[in-house]
Structures are given as C-alpha cells and as structure tokens.
C-alpha cells in the first residue's frame, strides 16, 4: 500500500513508515557516502513527492496571476490559490477564509500583528507579555513595537524543566497587559506549552493572545476555535510544505479593525491619488502577487498530513521521542536540556567536553543531520548557562534505526575528541 492510499479510519492503524519514507525523495539520498539520517525537522521538514508535484504541476500547467485576469489560466490559478486557503482554514478550523492570511512564514505573521495590531494601539505604560521560551521571532518584533510606542516588554520566567512558569504568568498579567504572545511548542526544547490555561487566564482580563505555532502545527492538531486564541502563526516549510509560505490566522473582528500592513496591488478595491479603498479580508493584508505556488504546495501538504492523521503523527513522534530520550540519556556525559513532561519530538542536549559544533560536524560525517547552536532562542541558552546545544528533532518519517545511528555517531564523536 502506498502512503497515497492512507486514509483516516476510526481505529487508527499503525503507520507504514517504509511506505511513507518512499514518498520523500530526499530520504533515499546519501550525504558523505552515507544514507541521509535527517534529524533536523524542527528547523525545516522535508516534503513528499505529492507536494513537490503540486508545485511543479501548477507551474507547468496552470500558472497565471491570481484575482486579476478574465482568462482561463488566471481563473484556474485563482481557484487553486483560494482552494488552498480553504484547506488551511479547515486545517486550523478557522470560522472563515477571511481569517486566513497568507504570509511568508511565522516571522512575517508575528511582524504583521506587531505592526498592524499592536503598534497603533499601544501607549507608554502598556505591556506586552511573552515567555522566556520564545524564538527570536516572537521577541524581536515586540521589542521593535515597544521602541516605537513606549510600551514595555515583560517576560514570563521559565522553570528548570523548560516550562513556562504559570504562577509567575498570573502575577505578570495585569491591567497594563495589552497582548500575550506565547509559543505553542518550544523550538529549542520541545516543551508543549499548555496554552489553554494561559489563554483562559488572559481572556478573563480581555487580553488578546497570539500563539507562535511554528513548531506545533506540524505535530499537533490545531483548532483555533477550541484554543480560543486571537492570532495563530505557522510556517509551511516546517510541515512538509514549501518555504516562503505560511499562515496568519486572526480573529475576524480584530483583523477587520486593523489597518493594512503593506500597500500595493491586490489589497485595494479602488485607487485614486486622493483616496484608496482597501480590499476586504483576507486580501487587505496580502499586498502584491502572493506566493501562489507556495500556497498550493502548502494546501497539498495539509491534505497529506490530514490523510495520515495528526493524531497518528503525534503518536508516532511520541514513540520516537521516548525511544530517543531513553537511548540518549544512557550516553555517558550526555545531558538532556529541557525535560518538560509534555514535549514534541525534540531532544536538545549537551555532551561533556565536546562542543555542539564539533558534534554537528562529526555527526554530519556519518550522514546524521542535526542542528547545533542557539536555535534562535539565545535567552533559553543563557538560562541554562550554555552557549549552544545539539538538537535532534524528529518527524513521523524518522525511525528508531535512525536514532540508533545518532547514538552510534555520538560514540564516534567521543572517540575522535576524547
């Protein structure tokens, strides 16, 4: 059975990982003469043939600009593009496609909210609340808004295990708080933040909530209505989709009241030198020709993920996480950084006496691709007092055998560097 035939069933059957892997061309390639062992999925996932095909078929047969021409190709391209938007709406269970804005990725989504929602509203004395776990993309845009408005950035502390300190959050949530911007899953540590508790608390004080879902959307079922968040941001390339495309979900009442972020074509209804009438949602926030192929590819990616089933993906990745955690914990001198009870399939670690960058190079020589460095989360590194960590991050197409290769390569690193 090929993965193309996998459909959700009421009693989920175990995934056929061999068939799934066959759909990812890159997984059968070699690096340095060794089969690729790709364990850097939190940085970017790989994509299956059907996503690659969706993009290339579009360019080969259907490409034209969208929302413009009366000719057939333009109409077909528009249908594909808007069809993708509907797929993404379903993927996060938004109420309407007016709430689904295509952006370049999570970073752009957060910047859009920072500049269009926060900047016009914030005054000196107001506060934005983020957590210590955030990726730089959920720190810097808020620092910029604070500089622009005189508002103050407050940071919810983290615990030694790598969780966001809920008690401290309740203390920091005050009448001055204007926005809570929180990660759903930590990219550096894998912590799954129990965001619903935070959202419920924020809601009691009418504080809107933005969730950085870059690491969550590929691994968990995301339902923005059940979460009751106001903004949800995620990137296509971390979930088997193309690079350069992502989604900002926004609550319609908030989006409607926000000014456009960028001006140009597509975001207008009428332009004269005296006055411009902005287009309706979601187009108001999509100035210029969008990444049409990217959106279509991302639509194919969410079709793929949903055909497998996010619950089965989560189960498989959890199994990989448990196996990897047990095997890595047994490696002499290895310390796992981030030990929250609920984690996505990410293991950040250090090795006594071996710098993460040397690990990265030595593992690479064995075909094992991991991320080393600060993972764009320098405050998290500072919290643990390390300049960097090594991070192995798994996707549903990874196997226990690959984790064995990781552990073997770590033994080689010990051999080389002592």
């Amino acid at each position: 059975m090929s993965a193309a035939n996998v459909t959700p069933v009421s009693a989920p059957a175990p995934l056929d990982v061999v068939a799934i892997r066959r759909e990812f061309p890159v997984l059968s390639t070699s690096v340095h003469g060794k089969p690729l062992c790709y364990l850097d999925n939190a940085a970017s996932s790989q994509r299956p043939q059907r996503v690659i095909d969706a993009v290339s078929n579009y360019y080969e047969t259907t490409h034209a600009n969208v929302h413009r021409g009366v000719h057939l190709l333009s109409q077909q391209a528009t249908d594909l593009f808007e069809g993708a938007r509907e797929k993404l709406r379903r993927f996060v269970n938004a109420r309407s496609t007016r709430e689904v804005i295509f952006v370049r990725g999570t970073t752009e989504a957060i910047n859009l909210v920072a500049q269009s929602y926060a900047r016009p509203r914030l005054r000196s004395g107001d506060e934005i609340l983020i957590s210590w776990l955030e990726h730089h993309a959920n720190i810097v845009p808020w620092q910029m808004v604070c500089e622009q408005t005189g508002a103050r950035l407050r940071v919810i502390p983290m615990t030694r295990a790598g969780e966001v300190d809920f008690a401290a959050f309740k203390e920091l949530l005050t009448d001055r708080t204007r926005l809570l911007a929180l990660t759903h899953v930590s990219n550096a540590l894998g912590t799954i933040v129990p965001v619903q508790r935070f959202i419920a608390e924020a809601r009691r004080r009418s504080v809107p909530v933005l969730l950085d879902g870059a690491q969550a959307a590929p691994h968990l079922e995301v339902d923005v209505q059940a979460l009751d968040c106001d903004f949800y941001c995620f990137s296509g390339h971390k979930m088997c989709g193309p690079t350069g495309i992502g989604v900002l979900y926004g609550r319609e009442s908030l989006l409607a009241a926000m000014p456009p972020w960028q001006g140009g074509g597509d975001m207008i209804l009428a332009v004269s030198f005296e006055r411009t009438i902005y287009n309706d949602l979601p187009f108001k926030f999509e100035a210029g020709t969008p990444h049409i192929a990217g959106a279509i590819g991302l639509g194919a990616a969410v079709d793929y993920l949903q055909a497998i089933g996010l619950d089965r993906i989560a189960d498989l990745e959890h199994d990989l996480l448990e196996y990897a955690t047990a095997r890595l914990a047994a490696v002499p001198g290895l310390e796992i950084v981030g030990t929250a009870p609920r984690k996505a399939a990410v293991v950040s670690f250090t090795m006594q006496g071996i710098h993460p960058h040397d690990l990265g190079t030595i593992l690479d020589s064995e075909g094992v691709a991991i991320r080393t460095g600060h993972h764009c989360a320098m405050p998290v590194m500072e919290f643990y007092g390390v300049p960097a960590t090594a991070r192995a991050s798994f996707a549903f197409y990874n196997t226990r055998a690959e984790i064995d290769r990781l552990v073997d390569a770590l033994a080689l690193a010990r051999e080389v560097l002592g």
């Binding site: 340095h32 003469g33 071996i354 710098h355 993460p356 960058h357 040397d358 990265g360 190079t361 030595i362 690479d364 020589s365 080393t372 460095g373 600060h374 590194m381 390390v386 300049p387 960097a388 080389v416 560097l417 002592g418």
Partner: protein
C-alpha cells in the same frame, strides 16, 4: 569527508590542553571575539615589548577548532613583531579560506594542522575568530586595559 583531516592530533591535543589559557592582568591590549552563530567567545591578551609581542594568552569557550586555533595562535605569535604577526594573520586567512592558496603549509609548523578546516566551510569562522581578535587587539593597543 575525512574527519581526521579536521581533527588532527595537534588540534585534539590543543583543544584538550589549551596552551596559554589564562587571564593577563598586565596586558597592554586585549580584544574580545564572539561568533554569535555558534556561541564561540574568547578574549585575547597581548603584552608588548616595543613592537614585539612578549606574551599572549586567551580565555573563553568554544568548539575544538576555535580553542585549538587560539591555543596554536598564542604559541606561534609570541616573540614576533606586530608586522610579523599581521603577515601571519594574512597567511592564515589564505590557508583557511582560499582553495587555490599557495601557502607553504610546512613552513607554518603546527599551524599547518589547520589546513584541513578549509574543506569544512561551516567551520572556517571557528578557526579564524582568534586571528581576527588578535588583529583587533593589536589595533586598539593604545586603549587602556581594564584590570579589575
């Protein structure tokens, strides 16, 4: 890809036992080097006797390549004049970055052990950080060194 080209015995040794790894309270100049991408961080101290480097030491943390490179640097520039050290910097830069470099590796002595780094583009900055830091230290020698 040959790991032993990168992690030669000399490099492994200097990483495990870095030479001149100490602060220098009476330094004439010092500079800090930081590679934000990987978190390598070092401080290089220089003591001058006229324009001759009479002592050089470093502190910091980093990967094996950056620590070994800094350790080798301290051994190789001590006793040299500033112009000599700067010529050596240029030679090392060529050794680390230029594939067509006609550097006489044998003449470099132990520093020649770093010639394998060239084949690992992601690691070139690790090896060159200390040399850029030395350059910065020598050019700011008029600045007073704070000795707490």
């Amino acid at each position: 890809m040959d790991l032993s080209e990168l992690y030669r015995d000399v490099i492994v040794d200097h990483n495990r036992n870095p030479r001149n790894f100490r602060p220098m309270p009476a330094a004439d100049c010092h500079a800090e080097g930081f590679n934000p991408l990987c978190g390598d961080r070092l401080t290089l101290f220089v003591k001058l006797d006229g324009d001759r480097i009479s002592d050089v030491s470093f502190q910091g943390s980093g990967c094996a390549i950056s620590v070994a490179s800094a350790s080798l640097l301290t051994e190789s520039v001590r006793g040299r004049t500033i112009p000599e050290a700067e010529r050596l910097f240029a030679t090392m830069h060529a050794l680390l970055t230029r594939n067509d470099a006609t550097v006489d590796v044998a003449a470099l002595g132990k520093l020649g052990a770093l010639s394998g780094v060239r084949e690992f583009p992601a690691r070139v900055k690790c090896a060159s950080l200390c040399w850029h830091t030395l350059d910065a230290a020598l050019h700011r020698q008029s600045e007073p060194v704070r000795t707490e």
